[in-house]
Structures are given as C-alpha cells and as structure tokens.
C-alpha cells in the first residue's frame, strides 16, 4: 500500500525552502504511527472484505465454505429479494435527509449568523443536538413516539389523531418519523459547517453592495451563496456519505422494520453478518457499497480539487 512505501523508501531531497538540520527520516517517523494504524485496521480489513466477497464463508455452516467466484454478486443482483429494496431505500434516505438538512441547516446558519440579542444562548441551544449520539437520539424519539405516553397521546387528548397510534410500527408513518428524528440531530451539524464558512465572508462586500443599492436577497444570491458554494458542495457530499453509512440510528430506532421497510444497505449488511453469520455474502454486499461510495469519492475529489493547493 501507499503508506508502507512512504515509510520504507528513501526520502526525497529536502525542498528548497525546508533547509534545516533535521534528519531526513523525521517526516516518515512522524507519519508512521498513523500510517501503521490505518494499514492494519483499515487497509487490511478492506482487502479481506474483497477476498471474502469471492468466498462462501459462514462460520455456522463450515461444510459449504470455499471459493465461490462471483456467485455472491450474482445472487445479490438477481435472486436476492431484499437487495434492491435496501438499495432504493438507502438512496431515498440519503437524498431526503441531505436535501432537508441543506435547506434547514443553511437557513439556521444564516439566522444565527445575524447579530441579535441572545445570540450566544440561541446558538448553543439550537446546536445542542449535534453532540447527541445516534443511540440517544433513538432513545429520545422512542419516548416521543411511543403509543401510550408519547406525543400522540397528548395530541389525541387535544382531539388530533387517535389513541394508541405508534408511528414507528406503521409502514405509512415510519419513514417520515425516522427522517424527523435524524433531522433533529443532522440539521445542527450541517448548520455548524456552514456557519464556520459564513464567518469568513468579508463585511466590506456587503457594505459595498449596500452602497450600490443591492437588496438583501440580491446580496444573498450574489455574495453569500457564491462564497458558500465550496462549503455547501463539501458538506452535502460528506453528509451524504455519512448518512449512507450511518447505522446507529435506524438500527436502534426501527431495527430496519416494520417489515424491512427502513432497512438501508449497510443495515442489511450488518444483519447479514451479525445475525445470519453469512460473512461471504455480507462481504460481497460491502464491496458493492464500496463501489458506490468510490463513485462518490471521485465526484468529491473532482469537485473539491483536494490536495492541489499545498506547496
């Protein structure tokens, strides 16, 4: 792998500006711990996933283990009744989540970027769900959604809806219910990323626009939005990948149910490997997920031109 080579090969001649008495090995020594950890616990597992994807491998059925060729992939794309469903749900989940997070996160960031009385407290409160874990988010929303003492009970008391409604166990309501629960935590995260970038818009630009008679909407369109473009592109892509991979919330909130209605591809993979012990097939599904994510990373790298800016 690239990292290993970086450690083993002789160092390049020192850069022109970097003339100092430092030993040439120093950068390699400094990078080594990180590189070794990532080799051992990311690169090697990834390679072993690729290897197992071509195997029948199930610790509970050892008599069937062995080379399988592309059988696992063929099974996924042709005969597995769940694969396409989970993939479509993943896409739906990511698009809806990231789209809504972008809209609400951007609005929220613009609001708390204004100067107003109580801004510090307002920011702290509005951002607070950011730090809440997926499991805790689930716990909170399980309390809110439960059929006996949840929100629906009090709504029913007030004459809205009916008693005993459980949004999480009804196939018609589980998707919006899960989306709202995840938004609760995701919007602040998005808003923080955008707000960090808003800090760097020069006020002079707004003042100049003001002098030229630009309205606030025009200022937003022609100053704020272009400035935020990079941040928005990066944040949406990072969030999309993150939402695709995120298992904690759905695993604990719905468990992928009811009736497999909210099973994403990674959740399906986790169930296939943890519950069914079908490691070979799970590895093949993982490989498929990697390919999808690789596509995302290429788009991401293209858009952000990462690594081109350091001299």
């Amino acid at each position: 792998m690239a990292q290993a080579a970086a450690v083993a090969k002789p160092p390049a001649p020192p850069g022109r500006r970097r003339a100092s008495a430092t030993p040439r090995r120093l950068p390699y020594l400094l990078v080594a711990p990180a590189a070794l950890l990532m080799l051992g616990f990311i690169a090697y597992p990834v390679l072993s996933v690729f290897y197992y994807s071509l195997q029948n491998y199930n610790p509970t059925k050892p008599w069937r283990n062995g080379y399988a060729g592309f059988d696992n992939f063929v099974h996924a794309f042709t005969t597995d009744p769940q694969f396409w469903g989970t993939l479509t749900f993943s896409a739906k989940w990511v698009v809806v989540e990231v789209g809504l997070q972008l809209v609400f996160g951007l609005a929220l960031a613009l609001i708390v970027n204004q100067t107003f009385v109580g801004r510090a407290v307002g920011r702290a409160l509005v951002f607070s769900p950011w730090a809440v874990s997926g499991v805790l988010t689930s716990a909170i929303w399980v309390l809110l959604y439960n059929s006996q003492t949840g929100i629906t009970r009090y709504l029913a008391d007030a004459g809205i809806g009916s008693y005993g409604t459980s949004w999480l166990s009804d196939t018609a309501t589980v998707f919006p219910a899960a989306i709202v629960a995840d938004l609760w935590r995701g919007v602040p995260f998005f808003a923080i990323l955008i707000l960090a970038d808003l800090q760097s818009v020069s006020r002079d630009l707004y003042e100049a626009a003001e002098v030229d008679g630009a309205s606030r909407v025009q200022q937003f369109r022609h100053i704020t939005l272009p400035h935020l473009k990079d941040a928005i592109v990066l944040s949406t892509l990072l969030r999309a990948v993150w939402e695709f991979n995120n298992v904690d919330l759905l695993y604990t909130l719905t468990g992928g149910g009811p009736a497999g209605e909210t099973t994403t591809l990674p959740l399906y993979i986790a169930n296939t490997s943890v519950d069914a012990h079908n490691f070979g097939y799970a590895s093949a599904l993982t490989t498929v997920a990697f390919v999808i994510l690789l596509f995302c990373s290429i788009v991401y790298l293209r858009l952000s031109k990462f690594g081109g800016g350091n001299k």
């Binding site: 990311i42 996933v49 607070s128 805790l136 923080i192 991979n245 994510l293």
Partner: protein, 299 residues
C-alpha cells in the same frame, strides 16, 4: 414538526415600513438591517423543535412511572437510582469515560505528529498519503465489522476496551490529521525558524512556539474524538460481549430492545449518556467554530 413552520410564518406581521435612507447610519446598519421578527420567529419555531425532545426525556426521567403529567412534579430520582445500580449504568459510565479519554489522547497525539509532517515537510508519496486519508472518509466502520472482529480475535483483544479504543482512534485519525495539518499550516513557518535561530531544536521550537497557537484547533479535534468515542455504538456492541465491559450506548440499546421498554429507566439512562457530552459541548462550542473555520479543508 417541520411543516408547522409554514402556517406560523404566514400571518406574521409585515416588516416595518422602510425607513427613509439615512446615509450616516447606513454603514453601521449594513449588517444589522434584518427585521427582528425575521430572526426571532423562525428561531423560536426551530428552538421548539430542538427543545421539546429534550424536555420530553427530562420529563420521563423525573416523573414517577405511570404518570401522565406534562410537568415533572412530584419529582423522583427513582429512575436514576435504578438505571445506575440495577442496570449497571455506573459501570458503563466508567467504561465510556475510559474509552473516550483514551481515544482523545491517542487520536490527538498521533494526529499531531502526522499533521506536523504533512504541514511542514515535502516527502515522497505525501500526496498519495493525503489522498489515502481522504478516501478513508468513504470507508465506513460499520462495513468493516467482520474483518475487524477477526483481527481483534486474533490479537486476543475481544472483550477488552483497548479494541474499541483502537477502532475509534483509527477512524478518527484521518480527519483529525487533515484538520491539524491545516491548523499548523496557518502558523507562519518563520516563527519556528526564529526559534531555531534562538537555539531551540525542532521539538522545543514546536512546543514553545507552535503548540500554544494550536490550542483552539486541538481542543476542537480532541473533543470531537471524545464525543465520537463516547457516542459510538457498533464497535462496542460487537467487540465487548462481557456485560461488565460494555459502554453507555450499548446499555441504552439493551434498555430499548427489551420486550416492554421501561420508559423511565430509558429516559434516565439517556440523561446519564448526555450529561458529559453536554458539558464538553458547552465548553468547546466557541472553539469549535473558530477551529473548524481555521482548519477547514477547502479546494
């Protein structure tokens, strides 16, 4: 909850009549021009959406079981006692603190070393290494559960907190390193060179000149690592089967997946899970935004 926003905005009062332009005040007001209601109204609606769930969990944790009151009165601490002792959240709490602090220290130290190298040296394959760092953002830990489990089993580290610490650190490292190298790049190299002229070696120069300037960034990265390790669920679920070794998120999941969920205990457990994170968050919020904007990864 989201759709509530629309009807509430509609009947809102129209913005104040435009004031006649006052050239002298214009410069100062350029930034503050937004009518107040346009800030406070949406903010309040959003605050309701944010705070009702928090209130809900407090309510369930503090009111007696079976109560349907919307005010947590009479207040009881029964649920906390139960969750802390009977459901062993006391033990989970200790484990979670250990995992969080160890991950924080390991991530910060390793990322600081690597980040310094990336910021201050040109070395062969640096670009490739940075690309590898970025690619790891697309490698989800959740998908590597099985091979990671086998590695830790071979190392005889299953059921040891060290396995979780290593796994959390590894997945925190890439982003932390990218961020820290950005922070270091923001410190002028000439400062360090001046320190060398004054007789410092590279290490003491770094410690005396650069490290103090990195404080906001390191606080942001370190607390990020802590919060992640504190919150993360799957690694602990997979690698720690012994009940005495489990962490708080696993404990919460156990409470939730019981056949009849004890809502009071779940709420109390949730608050135990939230308190350290809220405290960390309150301290670092300011650093976080400056830290991120300073080290932001931009094209």
């Amino acid at each position: 909850m989201i759709t509530e926003e629309a009807p509430e905005i509609a009947p809102a009062p129209a913005p104040a009549a435009p004031e006649p332009p006052r050239p002298a005040a214009r410069r100062r007001r350029a930034w503050d021009e937004v009518p107040r209601w346009q800030i406070y109204l949406p903010l309040s609606v959003y605050l309701l959406f944010t705070l009702i769930p928090f209130y809900w969990i407090l309510l369930f944790a503090l009111r007696p079981a079976g109560s349907t009151s919307l005010v947590p009165w009479p207040m009881t601490s029964v649920h906390f006692g139960k969750v802390w002792n009977e459901r062993s959240f006391g033990v989970y709490f200790q484990n979670s603190v250990l995992v969080g602090v160890a991950t924080l220290v390991m991530t910060t130290v390793v990322a600081l070393a690597g980040g310094y190298a990336l910021a201050r040296f040109d070395f062969r394959l640096k670009r490739g290494f940075m690309l590898a760092l970025l690619c790891t953002q697309f490698v989800p830990g959740a998908l590597l559960l099985v091979p990671l489990f086998e590695i830790f089993a071979n190392l005889r580290m299953i059921n040891s907190l060290a396995s979780v610490v290593i796994a959390e650190t590894v997945f925190q490292l890439p982003l932390s390193m990218i961020l820290i190298s950005g922070f270091i790049r923001n410190v002028p190299y000439s400062l360090e060179e001046a320190a060398w002229v004054d007789g410092c070696n590279r290490f003491t120069g770094f410690r005396i000149v650069v490290l103090p300037l990195l404080r906001p960034g390191l606080i942001a990265v370190g607390s990020f690592a802590f919060v992640h390790a504190w919150n993360h669920f799957l690694f602990a679920l997979m690698f720690l089967s012994d009940q005495g070794k489990q962490t708080i998120p696993v404990g919460l999941n156990t409470l939730m997946s019981a056949d009849s969920v004890d809502l009071g205990a779940l709420a109390a457990g949730g608050i135990v899970a939230a308190v350290p994170v809220v405290i960390v968050f309150a301290f670092i919020q300011k650093w976080l935004i400056t830290g991120f904007s300073a080290g932001a990864v931009k094209g």
